[in-house]
């Protein structure tokens, strides 16, 4: 673990109550390696390291901690600060329905997350409705319809309309049937696909969602930084959902996404069952990223 590596790195460095520059630099070499192995983007690692260095040099070492533990404590706190997360992951409109749009790369887990979010909201006493706006992937609409059945939430589908029109129709249906949260699933798209990024922006402009959730796969590598920056610019999301956390990827992509976008992580998906979905807590992910 990082703690163990730091302890052994510090064996050779004498300190006396305050963290010395030598100790901190030695520690940060190990932290850099740990974060890169965890898939955090190189530029994010650099910025993170310099932030930690500023905080750490000259800092008092608490009586109860070793110097190595003190550095880990600072690093962990900085990570938690960036990763964000809050008790209230979703805002609700004072005038219902609340519109939530889901977006992200192909295969990241959006459709499943849409179903899970609907189930979670229903358990919280809300009346959600799902809208199937992925008209391009084979059987995507059917997939969402089946998930809706599994969680007991209605699904809006339309034939012969564009995704933008289906989204608008979904919001109208929600109002008509007195649903208070509209969850709009969209097709996976590449941030470099100009046409599809424009479509996402068009959907957003049409339905004016209060929340736009960027769904990201926790096993994503360096590319997470580029993708997050592009989605922020073209679609502008309000929060991130991190998926497939039941795997053993360290999840450093989450740090890249949070740092670059400044948007909080809101939910995690950690299983294939529809109830494997919960509000994000930064503590556990911070420890996981550090390894």
């Amino acid at each position: 673990t990082l703690s163990e590596r730091l302890e052994s790195a510090f064996k050779r460095l004498r300190g006396r109550g305050k963290l010395t520059e030598d100790q901190v630099n030695e520690a940060l070499k190990e932290v850099r390696t740990a974060l890169l192995e965890a898939d955090v983007h190189l530029n994010v690692v650099r910025e993170f390291i310099s932030r930690v260095r500023e905080r750490a040099v000259g800092q008092e070492v608490l009586k109860s901690l070793s110097p190595a533990q003190q550095v880990v404590k600072i690093v962990h706190e900085e990570l938690v600060g960036i990763l964000g997360g809050s008790a209230k992951p979703l805002s609700f409109s004072p005038k219902p329905p609340t519109v939530v749009m889901i977006a992200g790369l192909q295969g990241s887990g959006k459709t499943t997350a849409a179903g899970k979010l609907a189930g979670w909201l229903k358990r919280k006493g809300k009346r959600p409705i799902l809208v199937a706006c992925d008209l391009q992937r084979p059987a995507a609409v059917q997939q969402l319809v089946l998930l809706g059945e599994q969680v007991g939430v209605p699904v809006v589908t339309r034939d012969g309309m564009s995704p933008v029109e289906v989204a608008a129709a979904g919001v109208e249906e929600a109002i008509r049937t007195n649903r208070d949260v509209v969850i709009v699933d969209t097709a996976g798209r590449l941030h470099v696909d100009e046409e599809l990024m424009q479509e996402a922006a068009d959907i957003k402009r049409r339905i004016n969602p209060l929340e736009t959730l960027f769904v990201a796969d926790s096993m994503t590598g360096q590319d997470a930084a580029t993708v997050a920056a592009a989605f922020l610019e073209r679609v502008d999301f309000t929060g991130t959902v991190l998926t497939k956390l039941d795997g053993d990827a360290r999840g450093g992509a989450a740090l890249s996404i949070a740092h670059i976008s400044g948007r909080p992580l809101k939910f995690i998906s950690d299983g294939e069952k529809l109830d494997a979905f919960e509000p994000f807590h930064p503590d556990r992910l911070a420890s996981r990223i550090l390894g």
């Binding site: 084979p138 059987a139 360096q222 795997g247 360290r250």
Partner: protein
């Protein structure tokens, strides 16, 4: 006194950044840079160093036969595996399209009996190329579907059987055992699959190597299909997959359409990686 024109520390950091940002990995990058510095002591031109690196990476990837193995004159069986959402079903749809263009008859086994609308998705792909689909009811035993797929392909005298499996995280022991069982059942019925493909998403970070290791252990992976290379991810993890596990990349996915599949070209791949 000054060795003008030799590589500066900043040049070396730039080369290191290229590799790290391509998902080559910290340890592999460090090793490569150390080796490169050793060999480039007399080198004054950063471009020449990058060319040496290019050659080194192409050498690692190797120039072995990258075609998918076939059973000439008999039934060829390909098993497709990988973690969730990487592009298995889509890749199978593309392969079926390519085989149809070659005039081959294809059976697709819908052995993902778990995920919502998995069979409908595969059936849509099959209809795009005229392939036949063998499927069971939702929740059925995937190995039974694979078994039926072999039976159907043999009975029809089909040229190819491609088995689609559910996405599964390699950390799930029971799911990896299920995959091993699917392979065993196929092997008992028709001999070892001629190709066991691991479908890897090009955006995957270091976890890709753990995936490759686990899937090889469970199902005997023989090659990698690297998907979504039409994005900005470089897919550098395949270098470790080749170097540490001897796994060659055989296919690349370049989009969501039936034609968006290409053989893996090490030179083009390294060009893009170092770009």
């Amino acid at each position: 006194i000054f060795n003008r024109g030799s590589l500066t520390e900043e040049d070396w950091e730039d080369i290191e950044a290229l590799l790290l940002q391509a998902d080559v990995g910290v340890v592999a990058t460090q090793r490569m840079i150390a080796d490169l510095r050793e060999r480039s002591k007399k080198e004054t031109d950063p471009e020449a160093v990058v060319q040496t690196l290019h050659a080194e990476l192409v050498a690692i990837l190797g120039d072995g036969d990258r075609s998918l193995a076939r059973n000439e004159g008999g039934l060829t069986i390909w098993l497709v595996t990988g973690v969730n959402g990487t592009g298995k079903t889509t890749t199978i749809g593309k392969l079926a399209g390519r085989l149809a263009r070659e005039g081959k008859s294809v059976v697709l086994a819908a052995a993902d009996t778990f995920r919502a609308a998995a069979d409908a998705q595969l059936e849509t792909w099959a209809s795009r190329s005229g392939a036949e689909v063998v499927k069971h009811a939702a929740g059925a035993d995937p190995a039974a579907v694979a078994f039926d797929g072999v039976r159907a392909a043999k009975a029809r005298g089909s040229d190819f059987l491609i088995v689609d499996t559910a996405g599964r995280l390699h950390t799930k022991t029971s799911l990896m055992e299920e995959l091993a069982k699917i392979r065993r059942v196929v092997e008992r019925e028709a001999g070892p699959p001629h190709e066991v493909l691991l479908v890897l998403d090009a955006t995957t970070g270091q976890n890709g190597i753990a995936q490759a290791r686990a899937f090889t252990e469970a199902a005997g992976v023989t090659g990698i299909a690297l998907t979504k290379l039409d994005g900005t991810a470089k897919g550098g993890i395949v270098i470790a997959c080749q170097q540490e596990l001897g796994l060659p990349v055989k296919l690349v996915g370049l989009g969501e359409g039936i034609e968006d599949l290409a053989p893996f070209d090490p030179h083009a791949f390294v060009d893009a990686l170092l770009d």
